[in-house]
Amino acid sequence: MATRLQSRLAEPERLPQRRATPGIEYVSQQQGVEILDQQAWKYLGMSGQEFVQRYRAGEIDDPTRTDVRRVAMLIPLAER
């Protein structure tokens, strides 16, 4: 359990260092796609693309649950 939880914790040193604004990381659309995909696999066991399609089609079971909300919040990062 401890290992699983540890792996889910945010790790600031791994975030892209693109701009020098303290406390804010500005990411590109491509980086957003990668983040969405990474988190969709981590929390929901599917790709980011599959998640977005199923989410918008209303095909995600209980879309109000926390793990779904975690990933849904990231959708705009990946969009043009």
Partner: protein, 193 residues
């Protein structure tokens, strides 16, 4: 928050939010680059990648913060602050134990379509997590954590203050209360609903 142009409105929103969060964590906000800003389009503002963030203190906690926003253009010529403002699409502010048992989970999804069967409401609300309800609550024993407790709109600063004052999270700066008062006052003045 508002601004004379999209970039100013965007920056005036995320900078105070970042400053408030910096009172308790070094994990940065993640947002899209500013060269792609357009009106009426969703943007994410998330603490890290939406993973639980460890907060140190008397009892360590996990914090999750996420908002989706859009920049809108208002038509009030008397508003010297500028025509561009930030509108919240939804938010989630979640405090949990380090085992990820939720404590309070504050949510608001004003642009969702209310659907009782899908457990979707559009008013600001709170879910009481297992860390508060225990394993055998006397009402709704199977799903009390699904109940939507009305809250009114909750500021991020209120949640940070809750973590510090009530749950013993250790602030990273001595003047955290002044910082939160300042950033929260700006939020209260500029919010659009």
């Amino acid at each position: 928050m508002a601004g004379r142009n999209l970039h100013e409105a965007y920056q005036n929103f995320i900078s105070p939010m970042s400053e408030a969060l910096h009172c308790i964590t070094e994990v940065p906000l993640i947002v899209r680059e500013r060269n792609r800003l357009v009106t009426d389009t969703p943007f994410s503002v998330t603490l890290g990648k939406m993973d639980p963030v460890l907060l140190k203190g008397e009892a360590p906690l996990h914090l999750t913060v996420g908002q989706r926003i859009r920049i809108i253009r208002t038509e009030d010529p008397s508003d010297v602050r500028g025509p561009f403002k930030i509108r919240t699409i939804d938010y989630i502010y979640l405090l949990a134990t380090t085992d990820d048992d939720e404590i309070p989970n504050f949510q608001w999804t004003p642009e969702d379509r209310a659907d009782e069967t899908a457990n979707v409401v559009t008013f600001p609300h709170l879910h009481l997590g297992p860390a508060l309800t225990g394993s055998k609550p006397q009402i709704r024993p199977k799903n009390l954590h699904k109940a939507h407790i009305p809250t009114g709109r909750v500021s991020l600063e209120a949640v940070i203050r809750l973590a510090i004052v009530e749950f013993g999270v250790r602030p990273h700066r001595q003047d955290w209360d002044a910082v939160l008062q300042r950033t929260e006052a700006a939020f209260m003045e500029w919010r659009t609903r």
